[in-house]
């Protein structure tokens, strides 16, 4: 048709666009990760990758599996709800290989004040002391047994 003859350049342009779109779709097919869209608009494999990250804290049940003697003492004291690693730090490596990875000996002078140093913002019924007045700088385990710290008449239980 006569009018189309003079619009030939527009058809060429359209062809360039279509070719570009086709190329994009093909390249896209190669580049989009396989698991994308598996559960939603994201890479399904990401979930597995995140779940496979290494664990640093073993969790108190693991500790209690071996250290039954400590559990015995602790479960009768006021620290019964305090997890082992709350004071002893992350010990999953120790739990995996107890002989080769030893937990660090803790310095109670620095450890206990993290929770028990007096502060107006702490709940009133929470046991807290002004450590300088209370012990004059002496380490807390001089008088208190950390696993069962409450003092009764005649010394710590």
């Amino acid at each position: 048709m006569k009018s189309f003859k003079d619009a030939g350049h527009l058809f060429r342009l359209a062809a360039v666009f279509v070719a570009g779109l086709a190329l994009f779709l093909i390249v896209r097919g190669f580049l989009v990760p396989r698991s994308f869209g598996q559960y939603g608009h994201y890479r399904g494999n990401a979930i597995g990758e995140i779940a496979a990250l290494p664990v640093s804290y073993a969790g108190h049940q693991v500790c209690e599996g071996c250290h039954t003697d400590v559990l015995e003492v602790k479960s009768k004291g006021v620290h019964k709800a305090v997890a082992c690693e709350s004071c002893h730090g992350p010990l999953a490596k120790h739990a995996d290989d107890p002989a080769s990875v030893q937990p660090v000996k803790l310095d109670t002078a620095k450890l206990c004040v993290r929770c028990h140093e007096e502060n107006l913002a702490k709940p009133k019924n929470f046991p807290q002391v002004a450590s300088a007045d209370h012990s004059g700088g002496a380490a807390c385990d001089t008088c208190h047994k950390p696993h069962s710290p409450a003092m009764v008449a005649g010394g710590s239980q």
Binding site: D6, A7, L13, V32
Partner: protein
């Protein structure tokens, strides 16, 4: 690097996320939208007077649009993954959808319109030039050398249609950038339905101003007389658009002050302290009130040609600074205050750094180099065009 904090900020908020490059980006796309709308004034609304700037406006838009993604790429933590936005765009993300708006505008509007308008010249130059230049022009012809009356008429009609589609596309281009900010409910400085509209009108203001300035500059460089009818008309449109833009910004301000919601006291303090210079002095006074005043003067008082030219240059330059300051105040200002409304942080802008001031300066200058190259390749003005052809024919 210790960042000074006043009051309380959530710990992760202290360091700013979006830098001066993200200020530059809406500034550049704004110039694109504004320049295009000025061009479309002639094409669609038959404003004859601005015809001398038509092709220049299109090339300016293209130069800035090419540079626009660069600040984004430099800002990304992983620019090598940026293609993911086109592969797996998240439908609910304004940023992802903007990738397509940008692409649409670049390819289906701007490039197409430039090609259709220049096609006759491209075909002529593909036959009259030699060497690598000829290869470029021949590629641009897409193999068709048809420049008959009828084909040019078809180009004219197609170009008109593209401009008609292009106007809402230009609105979408920059309105979307405004929406990227305006839709963030977590940030009360940004979250507003007015944001896309304010961004768009300030874009138009900056785009019109830049084309006006470039036209006057290029006439000077070429030794041509400035078409005052053209420049007077552009200045008039700049004035009207500025009034609308200023009204919108004042509306936002008055609304905030009146409603005084939970964020107001924090934001108010921020504007009066950390943002005082950039917001009150640079954006509002120097960048809006003074240019509007100067332009109003030219409309009301009869000034000589020389006086008008000087006024337009001053008003145009102040406008550009003011609109940049507006982007700064939105982007940086929106990150200076805490979402707890209890504190403020500081923006530590590096100089020679990936997201530093030097980078921003280079990216601002770069479009002008690209424009220079485009003007060489696709001359906007007839006299220059015939000069180029005769120069090329003699084996330039």
């Amino acid at each position: 690097m210790q960042i000074p904090v006043e009051g309380f900020m959530y710990p992760n908020e202290v360091e700013l996320q979006w830098s001066v490059l993200i200020v530059l980006y809406p500034f550049l796309t704004g110039l694109v939208a504004g320049a295009f709308i000025l061009a479309s004034l002639e094409r669609v609304f038959q404003v004859e007077a601005v015809k001398p700037t038509y092709r220049l406006a299109l090339l300016t838009a293209l130069a800035f649009l090419i540079v626009a993604p660069l600040p984004l790429q430099l800002h990304l933590g992983h620019p090598e993954r940026s293609y993911e936005m086109y592969l797996t765009p998240h439908g609910s993300s304004a940023m992802a959808m903007f990738g397509f708006v940008y692409l649409w505008y670049l390819l289906a509007v701007l490039v197409l319109e430039i090609w259709l308008d220049y096609r006759h010249d491209i075909v002529v130059m593909s036959q009259s030039t030699t060497g690598w230049r000829q290869l470029v022009y021949r590629a641009l012809t897409l193999g068709s050398s048809n420049i008959s009356e009828r084909s040019l008429h078809i180009d004219e009609r197609a170009g008109w249609l593209i401009t008609v589609i292009g106007i809402p596309s230009a609105f979408l281009l920059h309105g979307y950038v405004g929406f990227i900010f305006g839709s963030v409910k977590a940030n009360p400085w940004w979250s507003s339905p007015l944001m896309p509209v304010v961004f768009l009108f300030s874009a138009m203001v900056s785009g019109i101003a830049v084309v006006m300035l470039l036209y006057m500059l290029m006439c000077r460089l070429r030794g041509e007389t400035i078409d005052m009818r053209c420049v007077d008309t552009i200045a008039k449109y700049l004035f009207y658009t500025f009034i609308i833009d200023f009204s919108l910004e004042m509306l936002d301000l008055v609304h905030r002050i009146y409603e005084a919601d939970e964020s107001f006291r924090s934001l108010d303090f921020m504007v009066h302290s950390r943002l005082y210079f950039s917001h009150i002095v640079v954006q509002i006074l120097m960048g809006t009130v003074v240019p509007i005043g100067l332009l109003a003067l030219t409309q009301v008082v009869k000034l000589t040609e020389v006086q008008r030219k000087r006024t337009y240059v001053v008003a145009g330059c102040l406008t550009m600074i003011g609109i940049f300051a507006m982007r700064w105040n939105v982007v940086i200002g929106g990150q200076l205050f805490s979402k707890s409304f209890l504190g403020y942080t500081t923006y530590k802008m590096g100089f020679v750094a990936r997201e530093g001031l030097l980078t921003a300066i280079i990216l601002t200058i770069l479009p002008f180099f690209i424009l220079w190259a485009l003007v060489k390749l696709l001359p906007p003005w007839p006299e220059r065009h015939s000069v180029a052809i005769s120069a090329a024919a003699s084996g330039d």
